[in-house]
């Protein structure tokens, strides 16, 4: 019988590359690699030839030339004499801004709607279902332009505030106009000033010492609070009694922060109507608001379904078992239900954050200057460097996506059920 399982001892023949399973996988891989390399080489040589004919040698030199266009909504200081690189940086920051704001709002909307969808109240659960189906089944681009139209057509113009036809919301602190929303901005009378970093380069930015100080004190407070919790845990472990510490834990976070804010002299700068428009306050343009609202409402509908599925995925036996162990309802929720539901909810939630970030590239439809609008829009049209700008644009989005998905993989790894 051994002779049947012994490998063929004869000398190597060419047909063995195809028919002998010892060599076949190698053959297939080498053929695939060669095919891939030929394809890449073909594409590159075509591109080089075409670009040479057009007289456009591939180079990224244009990124350091003056951009010459203005960006109306920006997080850092910028003017039209700055380079294309700095314009792209403004765009990237705008993308990240709307992505972060959108993820937060979408999560809040999604959790609320997802819970309401499971409500025993018939009307409420139907309303939540209508919301979910309405937003999931219509393209997000349509929602973006639709909400933009709502903002432009239905909100009062700044002149209406002068005539008294419209008034500011929230005790005269927020002005909602058809050009955008003005919200109060925090100002510091005893400001510590800014630090300029990276000199005059395209990536220069200022760091506000005030914010740095507040953040440092706040974080220190949270760390102290965690130490207090650890000590309380230790006492509970050894004696069985848990000392009441919540007022200490709250105090060490709130009181120092409030003291720092008072020393810095925090006050609010309210928007005021001057001339034809509002001045002061933080100005959020319509395009930002429309994009933000549309993305969060659209993604919120998907998140609502995820939350619903996650809650339904925890079997009833779990909460009954927790009850049998004598856990109170809120402890059941925090120790039994939530950890299991989150395991189901978080991975699709993060992939929806990813989708939201990618969908923020539709900003170009309402004129919000995100990275697609700056680098892939005006910079591309002005310099005519399609290849370089699109490659850069893809690289930026790829970097964002890979970062988010590596966070997701790390999380999945850490919550994976440890089996055998």
């Amino acid at each position: 019988m051994t002779s049947m399982t012994d490998p063929h001892q004869g000398q190597f023949r060419l047909s063995m590359l195809l028919y002998d399973s010892r060599y076949r996988s190698m053959t297939i891989q080498i053929v695939a690699l060669i095919g891939f390399l030929i394809l890449v080489f073909w594409l590159i040589s075509n591109t080089a030839q075409n670009l040479a004919e057009l007289g456009k040698e591939p180079s990224f030199g244009f990124m350091s030339e003056p951009a010459g266009y203005d960006i109306n909504q920006r997080l850092l200081e910028y003017n039209s004499q700055d380079t294309h690189l700095r314009a792209s940086l403004m765009g990237l920051l705008n993308t990240l801004l709307v992505a972060v704001m959108g993820c937060i709002a979408a999560t809040i909307i999604g959790v609320i709607v997802g819970v309401l969808r499971l409500s025993p109240n018939w009307i409420v659960s139907r309303l939540a279902a209508v919301y979910v189906e309405m937003f999931r089944n219509v393209p997000v681009l349509l929602w973006i332009v639709f909400i933009m139209a709502v903002l432009i057509e239905t909100l009062p113009a700044p002149s209406a505030f002068r005539k008294g036809e419209a008034s500011m919301a929230l005790w005269d602190s927020v002005a909602i106009t058809n050009r955008g929303v003005y919200i109060p901005e925090p100002l510091f009378s005893n400001s510590l000033g800014n630090i300029h970093l990276l000199g005059q380069s395209s990536l220069r930015f200022d760091v506000s010492l005030d914010l740095l100080a507040i953040a440092a004190v706040f974080l220190a407070g949270i760390l102290t609070s965690m130490l207090i919790k650890r000590r309380a845990d230790a006492i509970q472990e050894s004696t069985g009694d848990r000392p009441a510490t919540w007022y200490w834990r709250l105090g060490v976070v709130v009181i120092p922060t409030v003291i720092v804010l008072t020393i810095l002299g925090l006050h609010w700068g309210y928007p005021e109507l001057k001339g034809f428009n509002f001045k002061g306050g933080t100005y959020m343009r319509n395009s930002l608001i429309a994009l933000w609202l549309a993305l969060s409402l659209y993604t919120g509908a998907f998140i609502a379904e995820i939350v619903r599925a996650g809650i339904l995925a925890v079997s009833k036996g779990q909460s009954e078992a927790a009850g049998a162990l004598g856990l109170r309802p809120n402890r059941t929720m925090s120790l039994v239900i939530l950890p299991q539901a989150l395991r189901v909810i978080i991975p699709p939630l993060i992939s929806n954050y990813l989708n939201l970030t990618k969908n923020s590239s539709l900003a170009i439809a309402v004129g919000y200057m995100d990275i697609t609008g700056t680098l892939g829009g005006i910079t591309m049209n002005q310099t005519g460097r399609e290849l370089e700008t699109v490659l850069l644009l893809m690289a930026v989005y790829l970097a964002i996506s890979l970062t988010i998905s590596s966070v997701m993989n790390w999380y999945n790894e850490s919550v994976k059920l440890k089996e055998r």
């Binding site: 195809l18 690699l33 309303l127 170009i364 290849l387 699109v390």
Partner: protein, 497 residues
């Protein structure tokens, strides 16, 4: 006194439940007003619904269907009122559906819009045997004959009339037979070896060649030539595999087909054209628009992405390191960038990547990029199906001595695809919704057309009516597809557990 009894010997009749816990009142108490919080939520919701309804309903029901321009609508509505101007939809709905597809209004063109309609009706016929298993084989043929017959009647002319009536009569005959025989009796007949109609999947296989011809027109011999490539490949395989073995047979058959497509199809088409010119009036891609464009892009992308996605998913799951790396790289790259950047590639870069002098049209370029985009997502959906399959299935296939492809074809894929059907449908919905993005690179999909319509003097600045109409159509398509996927999930549930 002795026979006095305190124990009831008969049951009392059941009393009716209290009026407050049955019927409508009971339902309301249970579902709407059980507890303070729920009552408040109910009232808030009712107020919300009432407010939205009061704002929207009068706006929707405005008698402006026949308005010829915005000013005309304003006159109909009367000053001081705010209501919809549906005249714009009445005036432009054909354009929103068909774009600038020839409608017989300009020059010596004739109305060609029956072609996309027939193409989509045939699409429905072609996918029926795949999607709806409860429709019998006979009813599929009835559908096909009916569509073709109606087309013949519409086109008119003596030949069209006769052919159309004949086909409709055939449809009626088969349909009558199908409806008059009992399902179980028919099953028994088939069991006993009764003659059946050919499998309607034959038409599903031919359809991909008919549809482009209907939509773009031109000579019929080009799609016939393309289809012949597959026939040649099949025959080459069946002859050669006996001589040189199956693997070499497959390779040679593929080579034969490619040689046919690259070098011989053009000659064949022009030769046949000279002998027997049959064709439709060609329609340029730039005349495509509206929902027709969205559906075309969506259907082509999904149909092409399914096989590519399967191959990518298998590559990603395989043990071959280089193949796996290539597949992972492709999938993660495509999924990591937004579709809009891929559309930029289609609109600006794809011509640069091709050999100098190549210039193919924008719709084809968009189709290529959207297909690549969809196949990466499809690959992940199918990979999910493959991963969800119990390991025992793979091991059982190995134990039966099946080779890789046989195991995939007979054991793995049927189950994996079944598991991933909901994911496939939701990918399709996603791709269909994403087709609106082509308006950003200047194609005239419904959203792009709405901008063009607003630029018209008569309808300057109308927003709500157009967006509402477009949103409604998308909603109808996507919602029905998601319902269909739920139905499929229920039907295919065989419960592995």
């Amino acid at each position: 006194m002795s026979d006095m009894s305190y124990v009831r010997s008969e049951m009392l009749p059941e009393r009716a439940p209290p009026a407050s816990s049955v019927g409508f009142v009971g339902w309301m108490r249970q579902n709407l007003f059980n507890g303070i919080v729920n009552s408040i939520l109910t009232i808030v919701s009712l107020v919300l619904i009432a407010m939205v309804a009061m704002a929207i309903v009068p706006w929707i029901f405005s008698p402006t269907w026949n308005g010829t321009s915005q000013n005309d609508c304003r006159e109909i509505i009367g000053a001081g009122h705010h209501a919809a101007c549906w005249g714009v939809i009445n005036d432009r709905w054909e354009q929103l559906l068909f774009g600038f597809y020839p409608n017989g209004t300009e020059g010596d063109t004739t109305d060609q819009r029956w072609r996309p309609i027939v193409a989509f009706a045939l699409l429905f016929v072609a996918v029926t045997p795949v999607l709806f298993s409860m429709i019998s084989r006979r009813m599929n043929w009835v559908l096909l004959l009916a569509v073709l017959g109606l087309t013949g009647l519409y086109l008119g002319g003596a030949a069209g009339m006769i052919l159309g009536l004949a086909l409709l009569a055939g449809a009626a005959f088969v349909g009558f037979k199908a409806l008059s025989t009992d399902k179980d009796a028919r099953a028994a007949e088939i069991e006993a070896g009764a003659k059946r109609l050919p499998n309607p999947l034959i038409f599903s296989a031919i359809f991909p060649f008919i549809a482009p011809w209907l939509l773009w027109g031109g000579s019929i011999w080009l799609p016939v030539g393309a289809a012949l490539g597959f026939v040649i490949g099949y025959f080459a395989y069946s002859i050669l595999s006996k001589i040189v073995g199956s693997l070499a047979g497959i390779i040679l058959a593929v080579v034969a087909s490619i040689v046919w497509w690259l070098f011989l199809t053009g000659g064949f088409a022009s030769l046949m054209d000279a002998i027997l010119p049959i064709g439709l009036e060609p329609v340029e891609s730039r005349k495509f628009g509206g929902f027709m464009l969205s559906i075309t892009i969506g259907v082509v992308a999904i149909a092409c992405s399914l096989p590519i996605g399967i191959v990518l998913a298998l590559g990603r799951q395989s043990d071959l390191m280089i193949v796996k790396a290539l597949c992972v790289g492709f999938i993660e790259f495509i999924r990591g960038v937004p579709l809009i950047t891929l559309l930029f590639v289609a609109s600006t870069l794809l011509n640069i990547f091709m050999p100098p002098g190549t210039n193919f049209d924008i719709i084809l370029r968009v189709l290529i990029m959207v297909t690549l985009f969809a196949s990466a997502y499809m690959a992940e959906v199918i990979r999910g199906g493959l991963a969800a399959l119990p390991r025992g299935q793979y091991e059982a296939a190995d134990a039966l001595g099946l080779d890789y492809w046989k195991a995939q074809r007979l054991i793995i894929m049927p189950q994996a695809l079944k598991i991933s059907i909901p994911g496939i449908v939701s990918t399709f919905i996603g791709v269909f919704k994403d087709t609106v993005l082509v308006s950003i690179i200047g194609l005239l999909d419904p959203l792009g057309l709405s901008n063009a319509i607003r630029a018209d003097q008569a309808w300057n600045g109308l927003v709500w009516e157009l967006y509402g109409f477009i949103a409604l159509l998308f909603f109808v398509f996507c919602f029905s597809m998601s319902r269909y996927s739920m139905y499929l999930e229920r039907r295919l549930r065989t419960d592995h557990r």
